[in-house]
Amino acid sequence: MVILNEVIRVGIADMNIVKEPMTIRTSGLGSCVGIVLYDEKKKIAGMVHIMLPDSNLGKSDRINAAKFADTGIYGLMELLKAEGVRPMALKAKIAGGSQMFQFGSSDTIRIGPRNVEAVKQELKRLSIPIIAEDTGGSSGRTIEFNPSLSMLTIRTVNLRTKEI
């Protein structure tokens, strides 16, 4: 049998989970942050692509949990728990949160750093350690996580591909 290394794609304000040998990927992170939660032993990982720091910022009645740092990370943890992953075993890698443009309303300019702050706060609240991060700067990122190696690959324009 041939096992294809299929890639699961996560859109903006979206989340999903994956088991080895498949990998999981999200494209074109700017001020958004991509959070990977993974269980090193079970080789299961989840990824969420958040846009905003706090679900209290939502002004609509129907909330898309994956859009916000607080509800997104919690929601991803619940998805992994449903797959039999113990929260204690979870570790995190994060990337994104850049400042693509230097103008706008002050709130909008700072959205990248604010997203990163909120992600760290939420991970701390859930006692999930951050093993590696590639955040800030002014470049877009595409990230792909391989659960069999617990490795996050980060591609940026004009910079070398990083592995963290």
Partner: protein, 210 residues
């Protein structure tokens, strides 16, 4: 029109007309600037998800030269002028008469960057002044800012405001084409106008369709 889905096909048609008027003015400005015949038309006005928005611009990972500006005044929103690198190079080479200019090079000459920003300024200015004349609304664009990066990273910045309210956005998509150029070497580009949700009603009221 109901509270669940306040935007009808008729409203989208009205926005398309708004886009067509803006596009016609911008095309005239660009033709004068480059001394070439430029076509601009509005292929679609749609309510799309954020991922679909990136697809309209070529896919989240496509590297583009993207000009971004905010619109303030009676209505607010984000505006993007997005060009694949090949088209951006083509435009700027003509504009500054330098055949070697390349957005992919690490050290971009300042003159090319400012030419690109000026291009964004002229196009958005003529587009928005047409929109302002047509609707009678006061519209103030900010100074445009340039980024050469992935579409997703650039455009998501303009979706932040919308994302507070919704997971979908109305896109007035304007396509640019240089007349006479063959498909392979032709210039292509997109102008995206993304009104903030709070401005939809303002636009429709100003045009008497609500």
């Amino acid at each position: 029109m109901n509270s669940e889905n306040p935007i009808s096909d008729m409203h989208l048609d009205v926005l398309k007309e708004v886009g067509n008027i803006g596009a016609a003015h911008a095309a005239t400005s660009l033709s004068q600037l480059l001394d070439r015949k430029i076509d601009m038309y509005v292929p679609d006005v749609k309510l799309v998800s954020f991922d679909e928005m990136f697809d309209l611009a070529g896919g989240a990972e496509t590297i583009v030269a993207g000009i971004f500006l905010r619109i303030e005044g009676d209505l607010s929103g984000s505006m993007f002028f997005v060009l694949p690198l090949k088209s951006a190079n083509h435009f700027i080479r003509k504009l500054i008469s330098d055949k070697t200019f390349d957005f992919a090079s690490p050290n971009l000459p300042e003159i090319g960057i400012s030419a690109m920003q000026e291009l964004g300024n002229i196009l958005s200015g003529s587009y928005l002044s047409a929109l302002s004349d047509f609707t009678g609304l006061k519209i103030y664009p900010t100074v445009p800012s340039l980024s050469v990066d992935m579409v997703g990273a650039i455009v998501s910045f303009g979706l932040i405001e919308v994302s507070h309210h919704s997971d979908e956005v109305i896109v007035i998509n304007t396509q640019i084409r240089e007349e006479g150029e063959d498909e392979a070497s032709g210039i292509e580009g997109h102008f995206f106008l993304l009104p903030d949700p709070s401005s939809y009603v303002t636009i429709f009221r100003s045009l008497g369709v609500m």
